[in-house]
């Protein structure tokens, strides 16, 4: 590879020590990255992409060992002295992390943190550094730079925080920027803005970017080169066009195949006719939900005058960005949150104002799948017990009969029966989410509420999960409210889509109508901000979006 490469990785290996055995996390990696270029490392969780990023600058835990060579601007980083590493960290190699809230120190203003970075690398006076910090904050487009510089991380929004992180990372004009899932925690519209910003800055400063992500859409939007990793091994390395249009390795093909793509599924007919609608399973009319005031914090209205009906056998997608109130609607629909005004009816029974006896009757018609597979199962109960709990409590089954039903449910979600006695920590995220479905379906509900069930899963696991959900829905014919921030997932699954913004329903209708021909401006923006995993198409979309913004 050429001499001008900023980053030169050759035969790079990382192993982790676990109980007397070295487990390889990164195996024989080779990579060259030139100034002004973006290389994306993609792969699913556990593939070693983040380990690579941290390993470059020896930021890994003490149970890791590294071999091979990592050269930044020709200087060897593996086994380099701490003083050399310190010189390079921040100055030549800067990091942007996933969660800006935890990566910024909450006790200091963002201005202070940028000044600190500057003054630890350059011989700079406080005034001078302050001026430069202001310049940086202006550069990353944080509104009101003079005031924002004095703000603490918690006073900024997620997107602004990520901008502040970028400003800090760029403080010393680094030759290499390592961005580890920089937009995963952000909403799509904010993500699009941050990606625009990074692209612009890269061109301006001529930095090299090593982008680590699992989102193929982001990759298509940003990367020149792509390196695909699986279980620590580089399975494919090539230019963006090559990988997207002509993937060679079967794993790459599978990975790209499981990425949900907006607007690629065929037409879906409603399970009922418009003229003769059956009685709705879930009917929300004029619903208002308020979080009551706590101390001096005033009451907060999360959902206002919300109307939605779900009919038997259909899947309705509820989409919106974080804070739009979609989860609140889901939780209220199952009686986990009190309703301030309006009415929620499940199979004709009113939830609002129901007492606990009535509620538990109504809940026998419903099931819910939660977002976080890590916290949705009791870590102290074997999963068989978690799945059987609704049956046991509804007094529908006991003893051997219960065990048999639990096994049937495990069969349904395609988990081995022997998993009955396992504990949640022994299962992977995808398996735990299946357990979640099995539990939700235990009472053969008329209505299933799925609250972002795939947001914590890898794409291939997600693809399998969505298939399973569709199969089950076809077989059991329950109605489903599918809450998601991911339009592509909703596109695959749903018959109808409802879009929420700031607690209001902005648009609802047939899937094709909403995705292909949105009426509302917000829906339009939302759809245009979704990155498509195809570099050529994404380029067209990006330009269209920028034109829309002007």
């Amino acid at each position: 590879m050429s001499k001008e490469n900023i980053l030169e990785i050759s035969d790079f290996n990382v192993d982790f020590w676990v109980d007397g055995v070295w487990y390889p996390a990164v195996i024989d990696m080779n990579l060259g990255l030139a100034a002004g270029k973006v290389t994306a490392i993609v792969g699913e969780s556990g593939s070693g992409k983040s380990t690579t990023a941290l390993g470059l600058m020896s930021l890994l835990a003490s149970n890791a060992r590294m071999e091979g060579s990592v050269k930044v601007k020709g200087e060897e980083m593996i086994n380099a002295k701490a003083s050399v590493l310190r010189q390079f960290r921040g100055k030549e190699v800067a990091y942007i992390f996933q969660e800006p809230m935890t990566a910024l120190n909450p006790l200091y203003t963002i201005g202070f943190q940028i000044v600190e970075t500057l003054r630890s690398h350059f011989d700079m006076g406080p005034k001078e550094a302050q001026a430069r910090a202001l310049e940086l904050i202006t550069m990353v487009d944080i509104p009101n730079p003079e005031q924002s510089i004095l703000k603490y991380p918690h006073q900024l929004s997620g997107g602004q925080r990520q901008r502040a992180m970028i400003a800090q990372a760029l403080a010393c004009d680094p030759a290499l920027l390592v961005a580890d899932e920089p937009t995963t925690a952000l909403d799509v519209t904010v993500q699009a803005e941050i990606l625009d910003l990074m692209r612009g800055l890269k061109d301006k400063l001529n930095s090299a970017i090593l982008l680590i992500t699992h989102d193929m859409g982001v990759v298509a939007d940003m990367a020149d080169d792509i390196l695909v990793m699986k279980d620590g091994v580089t399975v494919e390395h090539g230019t963006s066009d090559q990988i997207f249009s002509n993937p060679k390795h079967p794993y790459t093909q599978q990975l790209l195949g499981s990425v949900p793509k907006l607007g690629s599924t065929k037409k879906r007919t409603l399970p009922y006719s418009e003229s003769a609608k059956p009685a709705p399973v879930l009917k929300l009319s004029d619903v208002t939900i308020e979080y009551p005031k706590r101390g001096r914090q005033p009451a907060f209205t999360a959902v206002k005058n919300f109307n939605l009906e779900i009919y038997p056998g259909e899947i309705v997608g509820l989409v919106g960005e974080s804070g739009s109130g979609k989860t609140t609607v889901g939780r209220a629909s199952i009686g986990l949150l009190p309703v301030k005004g309006g009415s929620i009816e499940i199979v004709g029974k009113e939830i609002a104002g129901a007492n606990s006896k009535q509620l538990s009757d109504i809940r026998q018609h419903t099931g819910i799948v939660f977002q976080d597979p890590a916290s949705s199962l009791n870590p102290r109960l074997p999963i068989g017990e978690s799945i059987g709990e609704p049956l046991f409590l509804a007094k529908l089954a006991k003893g051997a009969d219960l065990a048999r039903k639990v096994e049937e449910l495990l069969d349904q979600v395609e988990l081995p029966r022997s998993y009955r006695n396992r504990y949640p920590h022994e299962l992977s995220g995808g398996q735990r989410q299946r357990v979640g479905i099995a539990r939700a379906l235990a009472l053969t509900p008329d209505l299933l509420i799925a609250d972002e069930p795939t947001s914590a899963l890898d794409v291939s696991v997600q693809a399998r999960f969505l298939e399973l959900l569709q199969e089950l829905q076809g077989k059991l014919n329950f109605a489903c409210l599918f809450i998601s921030h991911d339009l592509a997932v909703v596109d695959i699954l749903c018959h109808r889509i409802a879009v929420m913004q700031d607690g209001l329903l902005v648009e609802a209708g047939d899937r094709d109508l909403i995705l292909k021909n949105p009426k509302n401006d917000y829906t339009k923006r939302l759809i245009s901000a979704v990155p498509v995993p195809d570099p050529k198409e994404q380029k067209i979309r990006r330009e269209a979006r920028l034109a829309l913004k002007k």
């Binding site: 192993d15 982790f16 020590w17 676990v18 109980d19 007397g20 055995v21 070295w22 487990y23 390889p24 996390a25 969780s45 556990g46 593939s47 941290l54 930021l59 890994l60 835990a61 003490s62 149970n63 060992r65 990091y95 992390f97 996933q98 969660e99 935890t102 990566a103 910024l104 279980d231 939780r331 986990l336 809940r363 026998q364 419903t366 099931g367 819910i368 939660f370 977002q371 597979p373 890590a374 916290s375 949705s376 199962l377 009791n378 870590p379 102290r380 109960l381 978690s386 709990e389 609704p390 409590l393 509804a394 504990y423 920590h425 022994e426 992977s428 995220g429 979640g436 539990r439 235990a442």
Partner: protein, 355 residues
């Protein structure tokens, strides 16, 4: 800053856990209990303390006669606390009497002798007295642990689970009890109940000692209450009682065990302090603290009367503290084993072919 982030990521990855997550290799195929046990047995000081404490308890409990109702289990030690044998003069330094005969020097003199811990000023066997005192102190320690543990868990769970008014009123009660100078109240009431026996003293100290635990349990409940599995249980139709005791409490059990151990370590010291001041266990009952206070004046002439009970107090408190420490590490999921250079060199490489 970057370091913080890394730790967070590491745990996050384990939680989101792909099957390939390397960090999970260590806990593969183990139940929660097994993981905790494994981590505990890795803590050498805690395991040592557990062995010492168990043998100490067995030693102390079997030394003297035990009476449970009509049943009498004879002890293996030849003297009782009532026997008053003649004071021994032989081999005592500086003209003192009743010095200890315990000799750990290998050779002819090795062994317990007639009075291993010596005799007190009227000739009673001090080994029997110390055994009896240690028995009482251990009993008091466990009773305080049980009473404080029970009240603390119940109050803390109720406050944390129900929140709002229940929480506010129970926490004000905790505030109130914490502001009361426990040692003075204990002194006053100890004087009154001292005559009815050490069991009541222990009960009383337990009733004052639960506040810290209650706060801890409440905090645990507050955070566990927001977990999604609690909502899942609620949707499944679980009652409040079931949610609190089946779903939340087992997840807080680690913290509770640790806190109770530390309460017990503190309890033995409180009992000692009170008895020393004369407000705790009252003669003719004995406890380790009381022994020290009774023979305080003979410290210069017969120092062993001070050393032996002191040694027992320190060993028991130390052991319980070490065990608590080991348990805390064992229950902490973030706890990782430190890797030595030797470990690094000895480790084999996992076959790369499989990866």
């Amino acid at each position: 800053m970057t370091l913080f982030k890394r730790k967070e990521k590491a745990t996050g990855e384990i939680l989101a856990g792909g099957e390939s997550a390397i960090a999970n290799k260590e806990v593969e195929g183990l139940s929660q209990g097994q993981i905790v046990r494994r981590r505990f047995f890795r803590h050498r000081a805690a395991v040592g303390a557990l062995v010492v404490l168990t043998s100490l308890i067995l030693f102390v409990m079997t030394a003297l006669e035990t009476k449970i109702g009509p049943i009498r289990i004879p002890g293996w030690w030849k003297w009782t606390t009532e026997d008053i044998p003649a004071l021994r003069f032989e081999d005592c330094p500086g003209g003192t009497t009743g010095c200890p005969t315990l000799s750990l020097k290998p050779g002819a003199g090795f062994g317990f002798g007639t009075h291993p811990f010596g005799q007190d000023d009227i000739g009673r066997d001090y080994f029997a007295l110390v055994m009896n005192g240690a028995r009482r102190s251990l009993m008091i320690m466990f009773v305080i642990g049980a009473v404080a543990g029970f009240i603390g868990v119940v109050v803390g769970s109720l406050a944390g689970f129900y929140g709002k008014m229940v929480d506010a009123s129970l926490m004000r009660l905790v505030d109130f009890i914490q502001t009361v100078p426990a040692i003075i109240i204990a002194a006053v009431i100890g004087k009154a109940v001292g005559k009815v026996g050490p069991l009541y003293l222990a009960l009383f100290l337990g009733i004052l000692g639960w506040t810290g635990l209650a706060r801890l349990v409440r905090a645990q409940f507050l955070s566990l209450r927001e977990m999604e599995f609690v909502d899942a249980a609620r949707v499944a139709g679980a009652s409040n009682i079931r949610i609190a005791f089946k779903h939340i409490l087992p997840n807080a059990v680690g913290q509770i065990i640790v806190a109770v151990t530390l309460i017990m370590a503190g309890a033995i010291l409180t009992e000692t302090a009170l008895s020393y001041l004369g407000f705790g266990v009252v003669a003719p009952d004995v406890s380790l603290g009381l022994l020290i206070s009774q023979y305080e004046s003979s410290f210069t002439t017969r120092p062993w009367l001070f050393w032996w009970p002191g040694l027992f107090i320190i060993s028991i408190a130390l052991c319980v503290n070490f065990i608590g420490d080991g348990l805390r590490d064992a229950f902490d999921p973030r706890q990782r084993r430190r890797i030595t250079k030797k470990d690094r060199l000895q480790a084999k490489l996992h076959t790369k072919a499989g990866a």
